[in-house]
């Protein structure tokens, strides 16, 4: 069987195929090597890293909703230093794009995490998680505001040597402005969306279903909104867009690409089926062959008028 060309050129980085595992849903990567060869992936983004370890939120941390999942993990993690010591060495021989999700409670922390990572090899890019809730501003995050986003992206871009993907929050009416200001500030790509701020209540106990009260909604429920945002943003910027939100099948990937995404990330679907991404990649290959598509990348931004 001949294979089609599924590869994607993001400019700063070439991917075998457009399917990247999304941050926070793929652990540090190693969790999934039991299920399939990680080299099959277009790439994967590790769980968000701060400069120091974080304890995370108390449970319950998850609640299911209609076709969705709300999480309030609270970015529990080992911090960038232990990550570079203990985990990164296990990832350095992989032949797939390893992307690090860079977090911070304030602007300097983002830069510090990136600078620390700069000292190590085997990393394809940083995904700047400007949607981290900022404790000092009462839980709001830089990605809600074009200026704050511009400041962080400029600062990190200046202080590190790797390509930057800025990951946007959907909890704003200004997603286009925020994307543009990340582009202006030197971001090499945009990824969207992070989760939608959401909540669930137990009517019997009258208590929130998450200990943290608020959490982030992901999964198929959000796909129509996320797809719209990708479509709008892709029309307004020139750097590549990585789309995500509720992807579970190859058809979903195609929809995001047609809307303007150069690549996609798959999140919640990894929980439901640890083999979701390799299955999707296989389906994309079959799709290209049955539809005589030589280069999958040619689909990006081809939405036709009705």
């Amino acid at each position: 069987m001949t294979h089609s060309d599924l590869s994607i050129d993001l400019g700063f980085c070439r991917l075998k195929n457009p399917v990247i595992a999304a941050s926070g849903t793929f652990g540090y990567g190693t969790e999934f090597s039991r299920f399939f060869d990680l080299n099959r992936l277009g790439g994967f983004v590790v769980k968000g890293l701060y400069s120091t370890p974080r304890p995370g939120n108390p449970p319950p941390r998850l609640v299911e909703t209609a076709s969705g999942l709300i999480n309030a993990i609270g970015l529990q993690g080992i911090g960038v230093k232990r990550f570079c010591q203990e985990i990164l060495p296990q990832l350095q021989d992989l032949d797939t794009a390893v992307i690090i999700n860079v977090c911070g409670s304030h602007e300097e922390e983002y830069a510090a995490v990136a600078e620390h990572l700069d000292g190590f090899e085997g990393i394809a890019a940083y995904e700047l998680n400007v949607s981290c809730p900022n404790v000092s501003t009462g839980g709001s995050c830089p990605a809600l505001d074009p200026e704050a986003t511009h400041r962080i992206v400029s600062l990190v871009k200046k202080s590190c040597r790797r390509p930057l993907i800025t990951k946007l929050s959907p909890n704003t009416g200004k997603i286009i402005e925020v994307a543009k200001s990340a582009e202006e500030a030197g971001s090499d790509a945009i990824s969207l969306v992070n989760t939608f701020l959401a909540m669930a209540i137990d009517a019997k106990t009258r208590r929130p279903k998450l200990a943290n009260v608020l959490g982030g909604l992901s999964g198929p429920a959000i796909k129509p909104i996320a797809l719209r945002m990708v479509y709008q943003v892709a029309q307004e910027i020139r750097i590549p867009v990585i789309g995500m939100g509720g992807i579970t099948t190859s058809e979903d990937v195609l929809e995001y690409m047609i809307a303007g995404a150069s690549a996609v990330e798959v999140g919640t679907a990894n929980f439901v089926d640890p083999e979701a991404i390799p299955l999707i990649i296989d389906e994309l290959d079959v799709y290209c062959q049955t539809h005589n598509i030589e280069r999958l990348a040619s689909l990006t931004g081809t939405l036709a008028p009705l």
């Binding site: 926070g24 849903t25 793929f26 652990g27 969790e31 999934f32 039991r34 299920f35 769980k47 304890p55 995370g56 108390p58 449970p59 319950p60 941390r61 998850l62 609640v63 299911e64 209609a66 076709s67 969705g68 999942l69 999480n71 993990i73 529990q76 999964g219 198929p220 429920a221 579970t248 919640t268 990894n270 929980f271 439901v272 089926d273 640890p274 083999e275």
Partner: protein
């Protein structure tokens, strides 16, 4: 030294997806169901206390798989025993013999079966649907020459559908119901304390509601009987990727939120930190 026994990797890291496990038979008592699933490889690798993640529907609602303990193992098949409590378990209960289920397993670390001593005795305490893993456990202990006594508690007699199964298999069985409709009237933990006097145990194994497990942790201390407790938590993935299933645990002298799907669901009682109510 006790936790050293637990943490040598008793159970391999094998874990498989079987998207087509056939339902061989189905049993039902009120809200409670047993499904026997044909899955040779998962069955051959299963250890008591481990669990499966089961897909209950075809659409994204319900979205996540549901965790169920491995209730019994025979030849090529394993059984799950579950109670319908919400949408997912209700959908699962509608499945019929011959239908196929997408399952993932065996997951987590199960019960530690190493008990020292020449004629070791174990007390297996199950509350409600928490009885599920204890049948597989009792059968495995028997193979190791450990004699198991079953303590089975519920709100009412309807919550004790497996009592005949345990009796038929020849295990000493003590039942309790909160309403007194069957067996000892009261909590199964009180029944256990009463019985321990005549019938001491070298190890407690338990699965059930948090309140019961917390009380057993106290009993374990008071009576100096090591206890292995199986915890429950909402699970996003079941294999360590989401960090959704945490419980406060003491591990390597550090206290923190630990994933119960990987390090558990079974823990020695002394590792578990109980939150205020």
């Amino acid at each position: 030294m006790y936790s050293a026994i637990l943490f040598r990797t008793i159970f391999g890291k094998t874990m498989r997806k079987d998207p087509q496990a056939r339902i061989l038979h189905k049993q039902n008592w009120g809200d409670y169901f047993i499904l026997a699933l044909e899955s040779p490889r998962i069955t051959s690798e299963a250890h008591p206390g481990q669990f499966l993640m089961v897909r209950v529907g075809e659409t994204s609602f319900p979205l996540l798989r549901r965790p169920f303990s491995i209730h019994a193992v025979q030849d090529n098949a394993l059984e799950i025993f579950f109670q319908t409590t919400g949408l997912g378990t209700r959908q699962l209960s509608l499945k019929q013999e011959g239908d196929r289920l997408d399952i993932l397993g065996p997951l987590g670390r199960g019960f530690n079966l190493d008990i020292e001593g020449s004629t070791p005795k174990a007390a297996l305490v199950g509350g409600g649907r928490g009885i599920a893993p204890l049948y597989f456990l009792s059968e495995s202990l028997r193979l190791q020459g450990v004699s198991a006594t079953i303590y089975y508690g519920g709100r009412t007699v309807e919550d004790l559908p497996l009592r005949k199964k345990f009796l038929a298999a020849g295990y000493p069985l003590h039942c309790s119901t909160e309403d007194g409709s069957y067996g000892f009237k009261g909590l199964i933990t009180d029944h256990l304390i009463q019985d321990l006097k005549q019938n001491p145990a070298d190890r407690i194994y338990a699965c059930g509601p948090d309140g019961m497990l917390k009380r057993l942790a106290e009993i374990s201390q008071e009576y100096s009987i090591p206890a292995e407790l199986s915890l429950e938590a909402i699970m996003g993935c079941g294999f360590g990727a989401c960090w959704g299933c945490v419980h406060r645990l003491k591990k390597d002298q550090e206290i923190g939120w630990q994933k119960i799907c990987e390090d558990g669901p079974v823990f020695p009682a002394e590792m578990i930190i109980w939150e205020k109510e």
